[in-house]
């Protein structure tokens, strides 16, 4: 989900440049986009299968749950490959966006216990962290898009 958000918000606005072919510009690689979509679909599929197909043998379930991992590895591979093709300003903007995402999540997670203790929020569930991460990364990438014009 995060990957798709990042691609939708960020990559259409960020042309990568290849040092081997100076000046050649292309939009975010298709490999990265496809692997991100596949990973999101695989995660959703695995979660659905895991919750509905309780009759499946454990080994089969484990195999199903490993599919998103493969897509994730492919995504990381394409992401790194594309990042190596970014020029210096693109890398800097990218890094700042990622920092906003990670540090935003960190700050919220630090504050959460205090807010929870005050009685404003309930027990922290792992899924909340994902939503906070999506929100803060969305902000970071939206800022990156604004700056990179």
């Amino acid at each position: 989900m995060l990957d798709i958000l990042a691609i939708v918000l960020y990559y259409p606005n960020m042309n990568s440049t290849s040092s081997s072919s100076a000046g050649f510009c292309n939009r975010g690689s298709a490999g990265q986009f496809v692997s991100a979509i596949l990973m999101a679909l695989a995660v959703a599929g695995a979660v659905l299968l895991e919750s509905f197909a309780k009759f499946l043998p454990t080994a089969v379930k484990a195999l199903i749950l490993l599919v998103p991992l493969g897509c994730g590895v492919a995504y990381v591979h394409f992401l790194l490959r594309d990042m190596r093709r970014l020029d210096e300003l693109q890398l800097r903007v990218h890094l700042e966006a990622a920092a906003v995402g990670c540090l935003g999540t960190f700050v919220v997670m630090l504050l959460y216990p205090a807010v929870q203790y005050a009685g404003f929020l309930g027990q922290l569930r792992p899924v909340y962290v994902v939503f906070v991460l999506i929100g803060s990364m969305g902000l970071g990438y939206a800022n990156a898009v604004r700056r990179y014009k």
Partner: protein
């Protein structure tokens, strides 16, 4: 840091896209350098100097140097 990139580009009648292509960076990067929003790395500054056939210090100069130049120009009037 200030620079004369826009002037040099205009003298050569190059678009930002053309210069970006020659440098192997994106047009946005050239624009950010021209507007002073981004200071290029040393390798990119060297590449810029090579493209225009100049020395780095003939293209880039510090803010105080820019103020001095402006002052000298005004005194000359």
């Amino acid at each position: 840091m200030k620079n004369r990139l826009k002037v040099l580009r205009a003298e050569n009648d190059w678009s930002q896209a053309r210069l970006a292509e020659v440098l192997g960076v994106s047009r946005q990067t050239v624009n950010a350098i021209e507007t002073g929003k981004y200071d290029p790395s040393l390798p990119l500054a060297f590449e810029l100097a090579r493209v225009f056939g100049m020395r780095i210090e003939e293209i880039f100069f510090s803010d105080s140097e820019a103020t001095d130049r402006m002052g000298a120009r005004l005194e000359g009037r």
